[in-house]
Symmetry: C2
């Protein structure tokens, strides 16, 4: 096991009606003037935003608002948020929404206290300082509520890139599974897919001997396999929603990813799809993962066989472990299709003729030099083949 530092100081406040404690937690973590950052109208229509504002008012905490975050959040709104926070002397960013809103909030939080262009952080500069961020999560998916990461898309060039730093880990995250009960089935399924991808990216390692991490990941994947279809079948199943929400947080706060290398090639390959076509990240991952895994399989057949046996209940073929490995990837693919995810470029709204462009941005855009690297190193030729497998 490789040396690591694991530090996840986020306070998770989980359960029904917990958003009513927002003001209390903002106060506890030092906020005195808040930016409420959110997306579209659903948090307004559902009354969530009103409950949050009431809680802040009850605690005597003034706030300003900035809505309009889109899926695959853009740099333009981040700049706007930074300006607003500076003008209004905001000292706490409150994200009310899903991963996009949280990521946008983190970018604003880092940008407000930074003299340069916040995009520097998305080109590799570590985030060392930021305003405190709190979140009220409305979709179980990205895991951003417990992670030190943020992904933003820059309008010029449509580069979708990530930034990282403990400073942007949320101080608190309010997780009320009931808030996710109104999500359309497609969004629920995309969230489930994203969570499973976070687990697979951590499972595909080149390090040896971290059985504890394997077991925890498998446990969370098994939870998703069990609870996912229940949520699709009955959106109001609170218990299933709750299981998925906590699994989603645990899947990405890295408690289940320590002590070894990780993959993240599927995420990189998908990011170009959602950046270009503005598709749901999870939907993109549903098409991407089976292709990437099939392509990467020969790099370590036993890794895929292990997942096949332990997560998907495949019988181990001891003479031909690649048969088992493949069956596991196929089981993942069928599961994702069964919960309503797309299976190819066409269903995703992607176009074969764009592949050269996708590959070019992926492998050469924004500082990269001809390849991406995780579980395996993939050059332009590899990535072209992988995208073609998705057609």
């Amino acid at each position: 096991m490789e040396n690591f530092v694991y530090y996840s100081p986020t306070c998770f406040v989980f359960g029904k009606d917990t958003e009513r404690d927002t003001g209390k937690y903002v106060k506890r973590f030092g906020g005195s003037k808040v930016l409420i950052h959110y997306g579209g109208g659903s948090v307004v229509r559902s009354g969530l935003l009103d409950r949050v504002k009431k809680s802040l008012n009850d605690c005597g905490i003034p706030f300003v608002e900035l809505g309009g975050v889109k899926p695959n959040p853009r740099s333009g709104l981040v700049y706007e948020g930074i300006d607003l926070c500076k003008k209004e002397n905001v000292d706490f960013i409150l994200a009310v929404g899903g991963g996009s809103v949280i990521d946008s909030s983190k970018a604003i939080a880092a940008g407000v206290v930074y003299d340069g262009d916040f995009w520097d952080f998305y080109q590799g500069k570590r985030i060392e300082e930021a305003l405190p961020v709190g979140t009220i999560l409305t979709i179980a998916a990205a895991g951003s509520e417990g992670s030190p990461d943020s992904v933003i898309t820059k309008e010029e060039g449509m580069f979708k890139r990530g930034a990282s730093g403990d400073a942007i880990r949320p101080k608190f995250s309010i997780l009320n599974p009931a808030l996710t009960q109104t999500l359309p089935a497609f969004q629920s399924a995309a969230g489930i897919t994203d969570i499973m991808a976070h687990l697979y990216e951590r499972y595909l390692t080149n390090s040896e001997e971290v059985e504890v991490t394997d077991r925890l990941i498998e446990g969370l994947l098994l939870t998703m396999v069990h609870e996912g279809p229940r949520v699709i079948e009955d959106p109001n199943n609170y218990e299933a929603r709750a299981n998925i929400m906590w699994a989603g947080t645990m899947a990405h706060n890295n408690s289940c990813g320590v002590g070894r290398t990780q993959d993240w090639n599927s995420h990189s390959i998908e990011h170009e799809l959602s950046a270009l076509y503005d598709c749901a990240h999870g939907a993109g991952l549903a098409v991407t993962m089976p292709a990437v895994f099939t392509y990467e399989m020969s790099h370590n057949v036993m890794r895929f066989a292990k997942a096949a046996v332990r997560v998907w209940g495949c019988q181990m073929d001891f003479e031909h472990p690649e048969v088992t490995a493949k069956a596991g990837i196929e089981a993942l693919r069928n599961f994702l299709i069964s919960i309503g995810m797309p299976k190819n470029f066409e269903e995703l709204g992607a176009k074969e003729e764009d592949i050269p462009k996708l590959v070019d941005v992926l492998c050469n855009g924004d500082g990269r030099t001809g390849s991406i690297s995780g579980f395996t190193t993939l050059n332009e030729d590899d990535c072209t083949k992988i995208y073609k497998m998705m057609v």
Copy 2:
């Protein structure tokens, strides 16, 4: 799933040679004058204490020392530590040792800033304030390095009781698996047993529907079943030690115990054994758990059958699930014996004639009123029967 707050802000610094960074972390978490608290001679002989002191010296952090913590740590030394800290203006407690040293350190940390008798906290008063605590762990067992808990034995009456509060969660815990390689096999096995007990206590719930928590616990138990024997066979197996050390921390920082009730009857019943006979807590648990579980089994057969199938690989008997449940408890018992744990009172050094005394202190001592309560409620009669099953 029941509402919960999960807050585990400890910074875990994991891996080889990490104790050399002690000074850096004390500084980061605000320490300027340290009490180094430890147990017997092993941390001196191994050179660990010297390395820790060197790291503090290199960072210009002055310190005083208090050794002599015994297994099942006593209140006497806690009072001594509190006095020493007040006299020397200590503002940071550094525990170098196992669970006993860490628990003693936490008691001192809470006592220094409290006007009353620190024992108040061990009679039910919540710990709201304490000096910061850091730990350098030398045995994977108690999980105290990531928990808000402390257990101390009061010499007068030999009451062994616990206290709790986020204020005594360690600010950082340095986890170097190599430090555990010199442990005698018996102590390693006792640690493994303690970790497994922490998982079982969380598994035995009266709440429904927290599949994610079941899966995480099962994953950690499976890790223990796989790695435990490897450590007993080869004490220098770093990878196995590392897996067990991280599993031990995860088993008790409550990331795998949220959203439902827990048991802890086995711990209560065992505490009287280690308080009276000064046996290793883990060894006591090895004798206690199979008896308690057999006694509690009928309360929810399916819970034990689930563990039997998923952790111990038992075949499910769908007509007679109690057969499967029992097979799982038997498998646990055999596993613990196989790693060198005692199986009954005699091997533990306990005496049948003491049972009335054990039951009386357990059920009536120090504020209790005739019973203990967890997965089931156990009165004096129940507890007598359980202790007799261990003979």
